[in-house]
Symmetry: C2
Subunit: 339 residues, 2 copies
Amino acid sequence: MSTRYGSRPTMKDVAATAGVGLKTVSRVVNGEAGVTPDMAARVQAAIAELGFRRNDSARLLRKGRTASVGLLLEDIADPFSGQLSRAVEEVARMHGSLLFTGSSGEDARHEQELALAFCARRVDGLVVVPAGGDHRYLLPELAAGIAAVFVDRPAQLIDADAALTDNVGGAREGVAHLIRHGHRRIAFLGDLPQIHTAAERLRGYREAMAEAGLPVDEAWIAMAPTDPASVAASVDRVTGGAAPVTAVLSGNNRITLGVLRRLPALSPRPALVGFDDLELADLLTPGLTVVAQDPAALGRAAADLLFRRLAGDDAPPRRIVLPARLIPRGSGEAGPDGR
Amino acid sequence: MSTRYGSRPTMKDVAATAGVGLKTVSRVVNGEAGVTPDMAARVQAAIAELGFRRNDSARLLRKGRTASVGLLLEDIADPFSGQLSRAVEEVARMHGSLLFTGSSGEDARHEQELALAFCARRVDGLVVVPAGGDHRYLLPELAAGIAAVFVDRPAQLIDADAALTDNVGGAREGVAHLIRHGHRRIAFLGDLPQIHTAAERLRGYREAMAEAGLPVDEAWIAMAPTDPASVAASVDRVTGGAAPVTAVLSGNNRITLGVLRRLPALSPRPALVGFDDLELADLLTPGLTVVAQDPAALGRAAADLLFRRLAGDDAPPRRIVLPARLIPRGSGEAGPDGR
DNA sequence: CTGAAAGCGCTTACAG
DNA sequence: CTGAAAGCGCTTACAG
């Protein structure tokens, strides 16, 4: 039988069964022209009889490309990553590539291990949401021809393609929105400052305050881990003390969740604008006002650029910046008196 | 230089540079014993000079395994899939495997294309959230030694490993909960009936009603697509008409979203229990009562079983069933009078 | 139209 | 301890 457990028929087996040469089998399997109908039929019969399926790994080794792309995320379980992944996957599929995925867990060493493991498999390219602060480890791989596009955050210490959201502009718009609704004392709760997006959004916050001529009390700024307990502590700090804020810009979706869970304990309730949209944001009471990114558009832009590189585009590294969009839903339209 | 664009040094190059045999390079690269320190140093120097990185694709072709697993999801952008993926990824990492991922989009042909593409790459195993209704196409692959574990839904027409949630029990519990709170006319809004989980949850609904001696009006049951418009129409149908329901069990997270968006238009507002938990469920007003699955536990169970198979476990196909858990938060505790 | 030989980059099996 | 030869399953380049 052709079904010996753990072993598979090869083209050689098919050739022997059909009584033809190896190259003829290859021609039939790959649909190349120049095989007589009779020969082709004999090969097809042998393929069916043996249950042959071409080994694409062997094929691609010989061809010198792998028709695969490595996608390195912070955490595939995060909705942001999920939407981005799906978009990358669609583009990869259109180009006949499969996708390796992995989560760095915001750990630089882990990112490097995964990225180099993908490179060792000789992926054609990488799409990377970087966690680390030094990407020089990729230089030999890039020099050897592996394309890489960074997404959501730029690469550090190397010059590379990137698809980013306008984080500064988005944060500015969120803060300006709160100022327009009468707020003067506004907090920014961000992720750790070494995270590029967190630093950029803080910058947008400062710019918007400065533009409106408003002073910033450094006690209104908390750059901290995003676990619920840490966020709750930050919320308590900025809404307590001598100059309590009347409004909060939260720096990403996880921080927004922490703030939302802490809000019921507060009176008065500060106005809130969250960076990143959330699935149920419109169903909360009040609805959650957000500065929304478009993770799918980010993924598409990054993947499109990657495949353009793989097709031979060798222009200097490009930086694609997508806009963030303010979506008012209620929580960001309350005035400083709490209504 | 070693950085000619698009070409990489091989072990042969390293051997030539170091002035040693190919096998000695292989020994050093793989940390095998029996190389003199002097030889090892010369090889290391050549590796560093050339920027050599072993080609794992070539290595694995020779070794007869690929140290990779294919994960086939319905949609990686769905939070359920994301959590499941992360769990599978962690288990794969512990076993030194990389992960190919792909989304079938609930399309049987697409599922088959992706699964067979993974098999053509000779993945060691597959974890599959099946979309199709006939998995016999995988029989030759299974016979050839590719392991497969189905997750969330069982395989159809073949006998295979599976890790499932107790959908019947979960739905029964959700309906029994509503009955305990005084409801007699209860709707079930499910996904298309050919989807295994949808059919199972409907069965649980019927069992719970029968157990309580309550008649079921077939007009209370809607098995339909999960887009918002379709769900809104179903909601209107079961809450209107001659015998309007006072409570709803929604069959999955997407349907729950549709119901939640339609509820504000209804008076009185029916009680609601949703199958699948949602990120912000506790922050809604009222809180959303759910029958929660544990997608990470499903992924872990499936991946653990897969790697046990890859380690040689050839016991008959196993079916792992994980419990669903009722989490009361308010929406499912309102009585039939709407309070 | 057909196929034998060489090679993709490694590891295995085997001599020295 | 060291390495030349054969082979993993294909494709490429080249004769017939």
